[in-house]
Each structure stands twice: as structure tokens, then as C-alpha cells.
Amino acid sequence: MTSVWLALSYLRARPLLNGLTALAVALGISIVVATTTLSKAARQSASETAGGYQLLLAAKGSQIQAVLSTLFFAEAPTGNIPIEIYEQVHADQGVTLAVPFNFGDSFKSHLIVGTTPDYLHLIRRNRRSSQQTLLKGRWPEHAFEASLGAAVARATGLTIGDTFTAAHGFVELPEDLSDHHKAQPYTVVGLLEETRAPTDRAIFTTLDTSWRIHGQFHDASSDAHDHEGRQITAVLIEGRGYADVARLNALMAQRMDVQPIFPGRTATQVLGYLQRGQSLVTSIAWLAALIACLGIMISLFAAAVERRRQIATLRAIGASRATVLGVMAIEGLFIAGLGAVIGVAFGRLMAVAIAWQLEQSNGYLLTIGQAGLAEISAIAVAMALGLLAGFIPALLALREDVAKGLAAMT
């Protein structure tokens, strides 16, 4: 107890130096915590979005692009596939859910997604619950009706009954150039509840809306689009079980106009690329934390030299070696612990701020999870290093003869 009291007195005697040393630890730990928290959130978001006995059928091309486009609404699609594929899997006994996607238009950089009411089932399953109403108003039934994701509604201020006109493609064109769809505005008929998932930043309409647009777009060539055949961008299916998904996968793999993709696997691959970058950042952050702990040791080494006579005095009036050792170890522990706790708090704050920034700028939604073992072990490691940082200078200081220390100038 005397060690703790003395350590705290010494710590209080140099608030600025100890505060700065703790701050250095806090900065290192905060980067460690921020990167691990964000990557955990990204992993969580990906696994919630791409899970289950799912198979994505999309045009040939990059699997990653297809998954990012269809499940995350974050990329241009790979191309189109014939509507017959949707009709075929929709009718299949082994398919419990088939959600078609049709991309083409956007409104103020929010993607307009043509789909069916089955998309609502997909959201429910991804949220692993079914009790939510999910929707205020109703799901679009006719072309040019729209339901808005929560983030879209928030950003645009649109509500049920409002109308808006979309831009063709994924880029908002200047007023002068974007006159194609002026003739046919969308009407908002529903507002989706917040899902903390990509759903929030998309606008949903019926599958045939984009076919109408194209019909209108190619008006000059009358009904030429009918000859091309109606197309969709992708279908996401969920199978009854392993065998059905495997069968459909084998079946679709034989076709030339479509490729089957396992979204979970592709999402994991994307996260794998991210992870490599993240682990590099995390190692550098740990290095910074380690250097900060070295800073504690340097500061305590200096203290040991400065307190040469004080240490001898303590010994002369009855302090044991363990007491003196304890004083400096506790000082190291306290500085590192304080730094680490501040670091964890600051790191999580940083993660929340970055997630918020991502949501504001890209509409990409990350839900920061509860603090857990990672944060506790970061604090524990920092404290162990701090303890060591106090221990070593104290051991060296205690090697000096007390009588010699008493005669010392400092």
C-alpha cells in the first residue's frame, strides 16, 4: 500500500510529463482499437449482407464486382442476364427465395433498384428476425412507384406522396444534359425503416420500371426493345438446402450467359484484401504503442537517476527493495493503464467518427459493435509493458549501494 501511495505522489508531482507519456500510449492504442473496431464492423456488415444458402446469378465478369453491385449497391453491375433465368429459378422447387435486381437509374447518386416484394423477405432474413413492419406506406406495385431506404429519405427529405425525377446511369448529370426521364417522374409510395445495411441507401421500384424507361429511351426505334428480350441485372437466390444450392450452381455453371457466385465466399475474399491492409496498419499502431511504452521506460530511467538519493533515503528509513520496486512498477503500470484506457475510448470514438463520415459521404453503413476482448487485451498488453517499463529501471537503481546513494549529490 505504501508503494501505491508513494507511486501516486510521484505521479502527481510530474503531471505534465506523465500526462504526455500517457498520451503517447493513448495515441498508439487508439489507432490499434480504431482499425480493429472498423474492420470488425466491416466484417459484421459483410457477413450480415452475404449469408445463408445463397447463390447469386449475374452476368459473367468479376465476381467481386457482381457482389458489390448487387448486395452492397456499391459498384456498377457486370452486365445483364435474360429474364428467363429468374423465371426458371423462381419456379424451381428447391428455391425458397429468388430476388431479381435491375439497375440502371439513380437519383442524387442513390441507386434505383428494380426488384420484387421478395426483397423485403431478404431484408427480414438478413436481420434474422421477422417481427418488423419494415415499411411505412407500401411496396411499389406499379412502374415509377418508389420506396426509399432510410438514409435516402433522410438525405433527400422526400416522403410519401412526393415525386422526383431520376437520372439515367449512376452519375447525376448537369441540368442541361439530364432531360431523358423528365417526362416520367417517380412517386414515393413507401419509406423503409432503418436497417443499418446497404438497403438504407437505395431506392426501390418495380422490375418493369427500367424496361419502361428503356422503351421510352429507344422510342425512335418503336418496340425494338421487345426483340432484345427483357433483361435483369442479377438474381439472388436462397436454396432449401445444400443439395439444391449445389444442383443450381452446377446447372448455372454450364450456361454461357450467366455465372453462379457464392456471395459469402466472395465477400470473404474482399475482406481478405482489406485485412492485409488492416493488419499492416495494426502492426504499425502496435509499434507506436510499443515506442510509447519505451517512452515510459525512458522517463522512469530518468526518474531513477534523479531519485538516486531519494531511493537510498527510502531504504535508510526502512523501505524494502520490493517497496521501491513496487513504486516504479506501479508508476509504469498507471501511466500505461491510463494511456490505454484513454486510447481505447479515443479509438472507439475515432471508429464511430469514421463510420459516421463514411455514412455521410458514401452512405456506407458500419455498425460499431460492443467493446470486447480485443479492447481488454489491448489494455492488458499495454499495462504489462508499462509494468516492465517501471520494473527494469527500478531493478537497476536498486543495485546501487544505499550508503553510496546517501552520499550522492541528487
Binding site: I317, R321, A407
Partner: protein, 246 residues
């Protein structure tokens, strides 16, 4: 100058006075530097009576501090035996020696040696904390009481750097006596102070030692200080190592 009656080796077995607090016999402290070995302290027999104030006099380098450190258990003799308050120090391990020091020794230093991070009160509390066993309220009360005794009752919350030299040494005295030591050692307690101030400090030291029934041993080269004490030992008379060099 102290009179000749006081300047002698104290041999209490002949006087039949109080029991000795410190007994040394056949004690030597030698250092080895390369091939050379030299002895700084060589005491045949020495006994210091309990309850008195005793001065150790002699020029610097004559072994006064070494003798005090020996009594405090901070140095171990190369050969020989030293008993303090009946306890043979050469037989004690490091931990037992630490406990012995915390319990039986008070130490006043030339440079005061206060812990700058602690207040005056904290410094006085320190030895009581180190020896443990005293409840916090009693400990604090005694520390405050001792500060009152040395005339610094109102300075309890001050840090050492807010005190004058004289005040610092008063805190040093209060700290040294706080743990109820049997033996109060003072190494040149007045050497850093003005002569007049030094004398008042040494009178306080003697008074405080008496009040707490501690034996006081003061190493000093100041004759004015020696006159205040019950007895004076000149190092040249007890340290045979001195005879060789002088």
C-alpha cells in the same frame, strides 16, 4: 572544546550505567581496490549507552558516516560483530534488516533528504507507513503532533521546496522520530545550516530524542554541537584504522 572527561571511549561495563544500545567487537570494514586492500574502520570494542546523546567527532573521512551506516544496518562489517538493541545484525537477512531499520532506526541527514513529491506531513508519515501496523488516523495524528512539536504545525501541507533549510531539517527530525526508533542517528545534521540555526536544531534534536526515549548518536565536526551532547567520542580514539593514516 569539550572537557577531557567527556572525550573518552565509553566503557559501560566498568561504569555499571545503563545497558548498551550498540555493541561492537572485533569489527572491521575493508575495501579492496585491485591488489590493494584498505581498512576504513577497525574497532576493537565499543559500547554505546542507551538513553544518552553521544557525539562522534573527527575530521571528514575518519569513518563517522560509516559507523552510522553500520549501526543502521546499511553496511555489513567485513569481519566482527555488531549488536543493536540486543540484535546481532550480521546474522540478519536483507528482509529482516529492512524490518529492523523500519522499526528501530531513525535517520537525520546532512542534506535533509526529504521526498520532494510528498508534503511535510507525508514525509513524517512515511516511516510509520513503511513499518506498517499503525492505523491511518493514529498515524496522521502523530505526524501532525510531531510537526507541531518541531514548530511546523501550520506547514503540514507544504512541499519541501516551499520550506527553508531550517524548516526542512525540522521536518527531517520529525520524520526520523516518527516511528518510535530506539536509536536516532544524525549525520552532520547542522552542516548545511547557519551556525546559530544549527545550534537550535541540535537542541531540538536532543529534546525530541529524550522525549521519545531514543538514544541519539550525532556525527559532527562542529565543537559547538558537541558541547550540547552528553558524551563525545573522537573517532581517532575508537578507530584503529585512523592511527595508521595519521
Amino acid at each position: 572544546m569539550p572537557d577531557t572527561a567527556q572525550t573518552r571511549v565509553l566503557d559501560l561495563s566498568q561504569n555499571g550505567g545503563p545497558a548498551p544500545i550498540v555493541e561492537m567487537s572485533g569489527l572491521k570494514i575493508s575495501y579492496r581496490t585491485g591488489e590493494m586492500s584498505f581498512t576504513v574502520l577497525d574497532i576493537d570494542e565499543l559500547a554505546l549507552p542507551a538513553g544518552l546523546s553521544i557525539g562522534l567527532s573527527g575530521p571528514s573521512g575518519c569513518g563517522k558516516s560509516t559507523l552510522l551506516n553500520l549501526c543502521a544496518g546499511l553496511l555489513r562489517p567485513t569481519v566482527g560483530s555488531i549488536r543493536v538493541d540486543g540484535e546481532e545484525l550480521t546474522g540478519l537477512g536483507q528482509g529482516a534488516l529492512d524490518r529492523f531499520r523500519a522499526k528501530k532506526i531513525g535517520y537525520v541527514f546532512q542534506g535533509f533528504n526529504l521526498i520532494p513529491a510528498l508534503s511535510a506531513l507525508g514525509n513524517v508519515e512515511l516511516p510509520m507507513r513503511l513499518s506498517g501496523s499503525m492505523p491511518a488516523s493514529l498515524r496522521r495524528a502523530r505526524a501532525q503532533e510531531l510537526l507541531d512539536r518541531v514548530g511546523l504545525g501550520t506547514k503540514a501541507r507544504q512541499k519541501p521546496n516551499q520550506l527553508s533549510f531550517g524548516q526542512m531539517q525540522r521536518v527531517g527530525i520529525a520524520r526520523a522520530i516518527a516511528g518510535h526508533p530506539r536509536l536516532l542517528l544524525a549525520d552532520e545534521p547542522t552542516a548545511s545550516l547557519e551556525p546559530g540555526l544549527g545550534l537550535s536544531i541540535v537542541r531540538l534534536l536532543i529534546a525530541v530524542a529524550k522525549e521519545n526515549s531514543a538514544t541519539l548518536v550525532v556525527a559532527t565536526h562542529d565543537p559547538a554541537v558537541l558541547t550540547e551532547l552528553d558524551h563525545t567520542l573522537t573517532m581517532s580514539a575508537i578507530n584503529r584504522a585512523m592511527e595508521v593514516s595519521s
